[in-house]
Symmetry: C2
Subunit: 148 residues, 2 copies
C-alpha cells in the first residue's frame, strides 16, 4: 500500500499529513476487505460487532448504552441497528422489567450459530490482512497507534 501510488500524485506529501492519509487508506482497505467477507451473511461490520458484544455477555442482557460503549463506532442510532438484527432473528429485545426506560437485548441461538460461521470468515480475512507482518512488527504497530 503506497500512498502516492494509491492517490495518484507525483508530489511528495509532508510526513504528518502523509501519516494521516496513509492511515485512512489502510483503514479503507481493511474495511472493504472485512465488509466483503461478511457480504454472504448479509450483515454489516457494525451488526457483526454487536453480535459479538452480545455473545461476550454470556446471557446477561445488554441495553443500548452497554452496546454503545463497546462499539467501535459510537453511534446514536443503535436502535435501528438492533432493529435490523431483530428482523433477521439474530437478537431478542424486550423492555427491562425493573426499569422500563431500558431495553434488554440478547443474542438468539440462531444468532450464535451464524456468528460462529462469521467468526471463521473474519479470522481468515484478518490473517490475510496482516500476512506481511511479523508478530514483533504488529506489537510495534500497536505501540505506535497507542500514541494517538
Amino acid at each position: 500500500m503506497n500512498v502516492e501510488e494509491v492517490i495518484k500524485t507525483e508530489t511528495k506529501i509532508p510526513l504528518k499529513p502523509r501519516s494521516i492519509i496513509h492511515l485512512f487508506l489502510v483503514h479503507n482497505k481493511i474495511k472493504e476487505h472485512l465488509t466483503r467477507a461478511l457480504k454472504p451473511f448479509e450483515v454489516s461490520l457494525q451488526q457483526f460487532n454487536v453480535l459479538r458484544i452480545l455473545r461476550g455477555r454470556k446471557g446477561v442482557p445488554a441495553n443500548l448504552s452497554n452496546l454503545n460503549e463497546r462499539m467501535i463506532n459510537k453511534m446514536s442510532n443503535t436502535t435501528r441497528l438492533v432493529d435490523k438484527l431483530l428482523a433477521k432473528g439474530y437478537v431478542d429485545r424486550s423492555i427491562c422489567p425493573s426499569n422500563r426506560r431500558k431495553v434488554e437485548i440478547t443474542i438468539t441461538m440462531e444468532g450464535e450459530k451464524v456468528l460462529s460461521k462469521m467468526d471463521q470468515t473474519i479470522k481468515r480475512s484478518e490473517e490475510e490482512l496482516v500476512q506481511n507482518f511479523s508478530a514483533q512488527e504488529l506489537e510495534q504497530l500497536n505501540l505506535l497507534l497507542h500514541k494517538f
Copy 2:
C-alpha cells in the same frame, strides 16, 4: 488511546484482531477531530479533499474520473459531492466541449479563498493529532502501514 479502555473490555484481545481494532479506533478519532475542525466551514472531509485536488490541478479542469482516482474514499457518487460544492459556489462545472460525455470541474476564486482558511485549521489539527510522535516514529509508522 488504549484499545481495551476505549471498548471497555477486560479480556485481552489477540494481537492480530487487536491491531485491526486499534487502527479502526485511531481512524475514528482522527476523522472526528478533522470533521470537527471543518465544521465551521460547513464542508465534509470529502468535500475538502475534492477542493484540494482541484487546486492541485492549477487551473486544468478535472472530470469525475480524475477526482475519483485521487480521492481517499473511492465513491461512485462524486456527482452529488460536486453538486454540494457547486451550490456553495466553490466549484464550477461545465460539459467538456471536446467530449460531451465528460464534465470539466474547476475550483472558483471563492473556493480557493475558503480552502486556504481550511488549510490552516486542518494543519493545526494534524499537528495536534501527531503531537506525541517524533519524526522518526512517524517514519516508522509509515513503514509499518506500508505493509498492509
